[in-house]
């Protein structure tokens, strides 16, 4: 189903390595702007260190808020990488080739950004070492593995390191190509990183197996990560959080937002790097069809959570759902979330014309992620603002403070900066994978028509 384009290896090298070797002006501008936004986030974190969390809009029962929402959101985005590369590698989907690495890179930076949020969100970040690692043998102070907040770092650490290694393994052949194509210090750097890879038959065989094997190994991690994140909430007996369907619900939601984010990223890459020959409407078509399946599965779990949450007829549970849907300010957010998160994507992506229109795909996938961000907010925030009926806890207004907004913006800047820098130094589109597609493509003559085909091992 790939559009057939004849791409000579030389052209592929030039196109995909250009940005790594030459630095256009816009790169500096973008890097500086993003850096400034990130700096603002850094400053506000320092302010939080000095003045404490009084700067946030939290209250005595609204102890978690936007920062945790943002954490869950970025963990969700980070599921793009494995979703795309692992599943598409395992199913040998031909259109994966240009997409995989960008998705994996997005994974790594999104996950790293996400991981910072619970840490800066603690009351005393300087004591975080107590939390994440059993190091204080002298005083016998260890983390308590019974806490979901211990499962969480372990899962995120596993996922982060695994996907980083995954990227590197798949990057080695391209580093070798970059080594051969570059000169001076670049050549030294790439040569060192490429470990002397030369592309012998053995090396390629292992490279191919590695793609499949690592995908198969990372998939279970990928599922476990967001499940465990969801258990940060589901383990609590707080009404609205204590729902057993959270793990698959969170995972599929993560896939929804993640794959949408990949679509957005592909559109951006295509524009700024002029990759018209590599990222074609076919890819957005395929992504869109994948997303159609994902978004409807997501709807199923969303309905499960809601129907059976309300079906309990537990007054507190009902109160939470009433708050989520009918009360200020959620009565505004909920429709917005559902329209942007489900109706708009579903309504647009069912049409092939729309799926093949990159501009529309860019905007709709962006909108879908607005919806998914709000989804997390609506899951997390109301549940704690009205836990149990005490007069002391009439629903307090959670006034979002500017500093929280700055931190959220900074997280977006950080992820974009990370991806940009990676793309600056390394090929963000796997060269050897594209070349393989060129080698393996075949055609089968059926009557008059030549049906495009591909070699399968």
């Amino acid at each position: 189903m790939q559009e057939r384009r004849e791409l000579s290896p030389t052209k592929i090298n030039q196109d995909l390595l250009r940005f790594a070797f030459h630095t256009p002006l816009w790169f500096w501008i973008a890097a500086i702007v993003l850096g400034c936004i990130f700096g603002a986030g850094l400053v506000s974190f320092i302010l939080m260190l000095i003045f404490g969390l009084t700067l946030l809009g939290y209250t005595n029962i609204q102890l978690w808020g936007i920062l945790i929402t943002n954490f869950v959101f970025w963990v969700g985005i980070s599921h793009a990488g494995v979703m795309i590369s692992a599943i598409l590698r395992l199913t040998q989907a031909e259109w994966r080739r240009p997409v995989t690495r960008a998705a994996e890179v997005l994974t790594v930076f999104a996950l790293a950004t996400a991981a910072t949020f619970p840490l800066i969100h603690t009351g005393r970040p300087w004591r975080v070492p107590y939390w994440v690692f059993p190091y204080d043998f002298g005083r016998g102070i260890f983390p308590d593995v019974r806490s979901a907040l211990i499962w969480d770092p372990s899962a995120i650490f596993t996922y982060l390191s695994s996907s980083a290694m995954f990227i590197y393994v798949a990057l080695v052949p391209d580093l070798a190509i970059a080594r051969d194509q570059s000169t001076g210090w670049r050549r030294q750097l790439y040569g060192l990183l490429a470990l002397g890879f030369r592309g012998t038959a053995r090396q390629w065989k292992l490279q191919t197996i590695a793609g499949i094997l690592l995908s198969g190994l990372i998939l279970p991690v990928f599922v476990s990560v967001h499940s465990i994140v969801s258990w940060d909430f589901a383990m609590a007996i707080t009404p609205g959080w204590h729902s057993s369907t959270f793990p698959p619900y969170f995972v599929i939601g993560a896939v929804h937002s993640g794959v949408s984010a990949v679509a957005t990223l592909m559109a951006i890459l295509r524009w700024i790097f002029h990759l018209e020959d590599y990222i074609t409407p076919d890819h957005f078509d395929a992504l869109g069809r994948l997303l159609l399946v994902v978004v409807n599965t997501w709807l199923f779990f969303f309905l499960l959570d809601m129907v059976f949450g309300i079906g309990t007829r537990d007054p507190n549970e009902l109160a939470i759902w009433e708050l989520r849907i009918f009360q200020q300010p959620f009565n505004v957010l909920f429709p917005v979330f559902f329209i942007t998160g489900y109706i708009i994507p579903m309504g647009f992506w069912v049409f092939k014309k729309v799926r093949r229109n990159i501009k529309i795909m860019f905007w709709t996938s962006l909108i879908a992620n607005v919806g998914m961000w709000l989804e997390r907010y609506i899951i997390i925030v109301p549940a704690v603002s009205d836990k149990r009926p005490f007069t002391f806890t009439w629903i307090p207004v959670y006034q979002v403070q500017p500093i929280e907004v700055i931190l959220v913006l900074a997280s977006f800047a950080l992820v974009s900066l990370g991806v940009l820098l990676f793309a600056k130094f390394f090929p963000i589109i796997p060269l050897f994978d594209i070349k393989e597609g060129q080698v393996l493509k075949q055609e089968i003559q059926v009557g008059r028509v030549r049906v495009p085909g591909i070699i399968r091992e």
């Binding site: 000579s8 290896p9 030389t10 090298n13 059993p134 016998g140 102070i141 260890f142 308590d144 593995v145 019974r146 806490s147 211990i150 499962w151 372990s154 596993t158 695994s162 290694m165 995954f166 590197y168 393994v169 052949p173 070798a176 190509i177 080594r179 051969d180 194509q181 050549r187 030294q188 040569g191 060192l192 470990l195 002397g196 890879f197 030369r198 592309g199 012998t200 038959a201 053995r202 090396q203 065989k205 292992l206 490279q207 197996i209 590695a210 094997l213 690592l214 190994l217 279970p220 991690v221 476990s224 465990i228 258990w231 060269l431 070349k435 393989e436 080698v439 393996l440 070699i455 091992e457």
Partner: protein, 176 residues
């Protein structure tokens, strides 16, 4: 003509079929298959050039890794609970279900880490060899390296040129 210390020389081809022919004629000329290596910038289907089949033990690594990761996870989870026996939430001092979550992550981390190490090891990396090499390989040329060709260098060269090599490289590669 002068060959490198290893007596290795590299033929550059543009057409994969010609590489296959070259390998055939080199075999006839008495070169052992293990001394013939192809350099490509992208994977070709296995055995496309009629080269010797490669076998590896990569599948052992994930299992070893999973085992190590599992035992480490077991040690940490049991150790922390036993070394600091505090009751929380009326749960048993040794609570199995939470351990399973952590041990699972440990197992998977071990498996993946060992797999990556296995891939690097089995592809014989890092290997900054001085054998002849040519950057043009990254531009779609296919290199055929004949190692241990002392004395028979000219035979090999003739065979490869006959098969259609566009160039023969003999000066050692830069390593990197």
């Amino acid at each position: 003509m002068a060959t490198t210390a290893g007596g290795a020389l590299l033929g550059l081809f543009q057409d994969p079929v010609k590489v296959a022919d070259a390998i055939d004629s080199l075999r006839e000329a008495g070169f052992d298959g293990s001394t013939l290596k192809t350099y490509t910038d992208t994977p070709y289907p296995e055995g496309a050039f009629g080269e010797d089949p490669e076998n590896h033990r990569l599948y052992v690594f994930p299992f070893m890794g999973a085992l190590c990761g599992f035992s480490v996870g077991l040690l940490i989870t049991i150790g922390t609970q036993m070394a600091y026996p505090l009751v929380t939430g009326g749960k048993p001092i040794l609570s199995i279900p939470p351990m399973i979550n952590v041990m699972y992550e440990g197992t998977m981390l071990g498996a993946i880490l060992f797999t990556v190490l296995g891939i690097i090891f089995e592809s014989r990396l890092p290997n900054f060899s001085k054998a002849p090499y040519d950057p043009r390989i990254s531009e779609g040329y296919i290199g055929l390296l004949v190692s241990r060709a002392e004395g028979k260098a000219d035979v090999a060269e003739r065979a490869m040129r006959a098969a259609g090599a566009v160039d023969i490289v003999t000066q050692p590669g830069s390593g990197r």
